[in-house]
């Protein structure tokens, strides 16, 4: 059962890490995400699932203001993104950047500290140590000074997660973190993400592999242009909802 939408009691405990209401995204007059309402609580790990072109990445990017929204409202911890940027981390699709860029693993992870350092803040040895700790957490210590283009796909995905760790954010939004990575990396990434959830952080990830949803995630958002179902895996991740999500694409507009 999807929990009924009610007026939320005003208490800090119930302020969602991320709440989206009436969010719509359009590219060139085509609506790719229509009127999505969703709430993501701290200490939970949510999978956004849906077929190709369902608008999963667009939803994530619109939430973060990377692509413009047509309508709707987004709040992180009850505030607009601009006032809480340093509590929010984004892990883009690995294929979205040019890994030929002249940087080492350490250089990329240090980018996670830029939000805190600002434009002119001095990079101190303590910052480097913090970055190295994050690199160690994803098991890349031996690769810290390698050029990022020399890494495997799985290792590159670990670099991105390490950069997000360096941000010490309270909510992480990940776009297909397990796409094209090896089994060992997938296991390592899930372990780190579960640890973060255990620390009370919110995790939201675009995910493809339906078989691993119950093992990895506790919440789901089924998306196909609009929100089909949202809630705990036990109640929202049903055959019926999946059929509705992956069924005839036209159903989304019916």
């Amino acid at each position: 059962m999807i929990p009924q939408r009610q007026i939320a009691p005003v208490a800090s405990l119930t302020v969602p890490a991320l709440s989206i209401s009436g969010l719509s995204v359009a590219y060139d007059d085509t609506i790719v995400v229509g009127d999505v309402d969703a709430r993501f609580m701290s200490g939970t790990m949510t999978a956004i699932i849906g077929p190709n072109g369902a608008g999963k990445s667009s939803l994530l990017k619109a939430t973060l203001g990377i692509v413009p929204t047509l309508a709707g409202h987004v709040a992180f911890f009850g505030e607009p993104l601009d006032t809480v940027r340093n509590r929010v981390a984004y892990v883009p699709q690995r294929a979205g950047v040019d890994w030929d860029f002249p940087a080492r693993v350490l250089d990329v992870v240090l980018m996670g500290l830029y939000g805190e350092l600002g434009i002119f803040g001095r990079l101190r040895p303590s910052h480097e140590k913090r970055a190295m700790d994050c690199i160690a957490r994803v098991g890349l210590t031996d690769f810290a000074r390698r050029q990022i283009g020399a890494l495997s796909g799985g290792q590159q995905q670990r670099v991105f997660l390490a950069r997000a760790l360096a941000q010490r954010a309270d909510i992480l939004l990940l776009d297909e973190p397990f796409a094209g990575v090896d089994a060992a990396t997938e296991k390592a990434l899930v372990q780190v993400l579960h640890a973060l959830r255990g620390e009370g952080r919110a995790i939201v990830a675009v995910h493809h592999d339906l078989a691993t949803v119950p093992a990895y995630f506790d919440h789901v958002l089924l998306l196909n242009r609009r929100c089909i179902a949202e809630g705990p895996v036990a109640t929202a991740f049903t055959e019926k909802a999946l059929a509705q999500t992956y069924g005839a694409r036209g159903a989304a507009h019916a």
Binding site: Y90, Y114, A179, Y246
Partner: protein, 319 residues
């Protein structure tokens, strides 16, 4: 190496080096953003900008030319964007269309305008007039401390020095935002960086460098300096900071050795006269890039993902 050198060669060499540095700096970021072609386009549309400015003002004042060419550069960027969006063609094709058409229009305007009387002709547009930027008031090294002689320095020198300072300040001040946004624009946006404004600012700064360098050294050298030193430096290192410093060193090396080779190379080979300095500098930077490609430690491209996740097949839902 006396008064002749100071009068005839010092200023052109300094101007060549400044032009090389001003172009190579933004060139590094254009290269990494896969926008090298944009620099090519900007350096070509400078010509119609200069011709139109000359027709409107009737003078060859370098500052007026800078403004006119800058406007032309921005106009071309907007035009390219417009063509890409409205005609839905590939950006490279749109750039190729815009800059060749505008450059050709500039050539036609040049022929008809009589601007050639003031050192503006097609040859100068391509190769510049580096050798003519001499310091007539100079009388040996002491002139460097003589205010009267310094007042007679070619205005191109002041212009390029000012633009090089602005370009340098831009890169130093915005080093972090520029490098993050160049590597990962989406992530940079989530840090709150104005990524579109940054990208536009980079183009404006590159256009400024192109315009300032153009009047002295011509479009061939501008293109060479935007692309060759950064590309060669990229092959020699895997760190952004090192790449930028190396590219500056290579740019200055090409400028100075190219100038000397153009002046004395033919003599050393037993020919009379000299060849175009701008042409030789561009040729030298090409040779440097070739050497870097053959010997650079980091010339191999590895690890780039071959397919995007969107290409992956989906598993059937609850089959």
């Amino acid at each position: 190496m006396g008064s002749d050198f100071v009068m005839l060669s010092l200023v052109p060499m300094v101007i060549a080096a400044l032009a090389a540095v001003a172009c190579a700096l933004p060139g590094n970021f254009l290269l990494l953003r896969r926008q090298s072609m944009l620099g090519d386009a900007i350096s070509h549309v400078v010509l119609p900008g200069i011709v139109v400015t000359f027709l409107l003002t009737g003078s060859a004042n370098p500052w007026a030319m800078l403004l006119g060419a800058g406007i032309a550069a921005l106009f071309s960027v907007l035009l390219i964007e417009l063509i890409v969006r409205s005609a839905r063609v590939e950006p490279g094709a749109a750039m190729g269309t815009v800059f060749t058409a505008m450059f050709a229009a500039g050539v036609l305007g040049l022929e008809r305008s009589g601007a050639s009387g003031v050192h503006l002709d097609v040859e100068h547009a391509l190769y510049g007039n580096l050798e003519s930027l001499i310091w007539l008031d100079a009388n040996g090294w002491p002139s460097l401390a003589d205010p009267k002689a310094l007042a007679g320095l070619p205005p191109e020198l002041t212009l390029l020095a000012a633009v090089t300072a602005v370009v340098g300040a831009f890169v130093v001040a915005l080093w972090r935002p520029l490098s993050v946004a160049t590597f990962d624009e989406g992530f940079a946006a989530t840090l709150g960086l104005p990524v579109r404004a940054l990208s536009l600012a980079l183009i404006v700064v590159a256009a400024m460098a192109c315009v300032a360098a153009f009047s002295a050294v011509g479009s061939i050298l501008v293109i060479a300096m935007l692309i060759c030193p950064p590309a060669a430096a990229r092959l020699m290192t895997n760190r952004l900071g090192h790449q930028v410093w190396l590219s500056l060193g290579l740019a200055i090396l090409a400028a100075l050795s190219g100038y000397v080779l153009a002046g004395y190379g033919p003599l050393w080979l037993g020919f009379a006269g000299s060849v175009s300095a701008a042409g030789m500098i561009a040729a030298v930077s090409g040779v440097i890039l070739g050497l870097a490609a053959l010997t650079g430690r980091h010339r191999r491209r590895t690890g780039s993902p071959l397919s995007t996740p969107a290409d992956r097949p989906y598993k059937a839902p609850n089959a």
